[in-house]
Amino acid sequence: MNEIWAGLLAAFHLIVTLDGDLVEITLRSLQVSLSALVIASALALPFGTWLAIRRFRFRRATIATLNALMGLPPVVVGLIVYLLLSRSGPFGVLGLLFTPTAMIIAQVVIITPLIASITHQAMRELWAEYHDLLISLNTSNRQRVLTLIWDGRRALLTGALAGFGRAIGEVGAIMIVGGNIDNATRVLTTAIALETGKGNFALALGLGFVLIALALLVNFAIHALSRTERHSTW
């Protein structure tokens, strides 16, 4: 119990004094995970919606695979991305290993299936409702996808936030491809792992509380910006 108190105190101290290192790694956490979220959403939202409105031969298998990929182990993703970006790997010449870009790539791989899967589930119901209308209007596939995404944006927001949650709290993959380099690729989760390794539980826990607070803050901010739970739009 003492350790938890010490952790809360450490978190309080870090935030109140606006610790320089803390600000830096917090901003980097946000930068990496938000970039990954934007890229993953740009891929997953249209793809998930498209899956809901199209009927094709391997649809069932594709959806099952997508759902299974939601549980993709981050460490394995990290290892594969590492092997691809390593100097001895196929994309080694790009020199991307141990940079924030590599971390973003790994996180995109991890959260895209999750967002696509949730999108597909939500869009399937919406499509049942919109099916007759959109078909009778003789819309193109592109128009259908865009309409569904816009009208289903609240459900998609949940999917995106789930993806963000998985990205910001993830440590296995970014530890491998980022390398936890001070002032270059250290983020909140890898810093927590490092401090835990030193037996410095108070600071590790303090960083953990900062991470939780950050996740809450981002979620509140997005809800406030998108005006959910207001007026007639529940």
Binding site: R87, L194, K198, F201
Partner: protein, 265 residues
């Protein structure tokens, strides 16, 4: 004109400052706090920024082989010799040493504190079947531990549940030992800097077999043309200078020296 000149100087300035290299080091180099002593001084004096990848010796060697770092600082003589023989590094240069220590519960159920030799220490732990935490991650410390068991003619494969290979770094393994109140082999620097000691205590050390040499191996540009040879050479020169000697020898915790500089100049 002045504006152009200023801009030019700024560009030069950032170019000089942005000199950096990637170095894979064993966990003890960082966990002992030594990196926080050396690297800021290095940056100030030479403008060289060393980006640390804190991993076990096994992984550091892998990163070096793949050419993902510019140099490595490790502690496992046999592997280093293989690494040089395979041509991944042109040579190895000894930098400093410390020693391994046996940590265990303060009650010392196996009675290793007064053992006369490493063989006796290990035999007493094995006979008592006292809980023992092994790194199990192919790091320098793990290699050392396996070599010690082997030298004592004990086979870790035949051990029961009391021998726990946790497959983690030094800090995480110490945390496990601390929670289980188990015996563990650690390097002195990581132990002294470890904050979660609970009931653990340093029980046995200063045996000749526990000597722990750290060496610096720059990656061979013949194998990996993209490595930053200039930076790794600059770092090596600085690391073996009298300035670094002073810093390494003066780094103490609880009035105990952590490392002893022994690079040939």
């Amino acid at each position: 004109m002045i504006r152009a000149l200023t801009l030019f100087l700024c560009l030069i300035g950032t170019a000089a400052l942005s000199e950096s290299m990637k170095l894979a080091v064993t966990t003890s180099f960082h966990n002992s706090g030594l990196s926080d002593v050396l690297l800021p001084v290095l940056l100030e004096e030479t403008g060289l920024e060393v980006q640390l990848l804190i991993v076990g010796t096994g992984q550091a060697l892998r990163l070096g082989r793949a050419g993902d770092v510019d140099a490595i600082l490790v502690h496992s003589r046999a592997d280093e010799d293989v690494f040089v023989a395979e041509g991944f590094a042109p040579y190895r240069r000894e930098i400093m040493y410390n020693d391994f220590v046996f940590i265990g519960p303060s009650s010392d159920p196996a009675g290793i504190a007064n053992a006369a030799s490493i063989e006796q220490v290990l035999n007493r732990i094995a006979i008592e079947k006292a809980l023992f935490v092994s790194r199990g991650d192919d790091s320098g410390t793990h290699k050392k531990e396996r070599a010690l068991w082997q030298a004592a003619a004990l086979d870790t494969e035949t051990f029961g549940a009391w021998y726990k290979a946790v497959g983690s770094g030094m800090g995480a393994s110490l945390n496990t030992a601390s929670a289980l109140n188990a015996y563990i082999l650690a390097d002195r620097a990581s132990w002294l800097n470890f904050r979660n000691k609970s009931d653990l205590k340093l029980l046995s050390s200063r045996h000749p077999e526990l000597f722990n040499q750290y060496a610096y191996l720059p990656i061979n540009p013949d194998k990996h043309p993209h490595v930053n040879v200039e930076a790794s050479q600059l770092f090596e020169n600085w690391l073996t200078s009298s300035r670094s000697e002073h810093l390494i020898n003066a780094h103490r915790i609880n009035d105990e020296a952590l490392f002893v500089f022994n690079a040939s100049k």
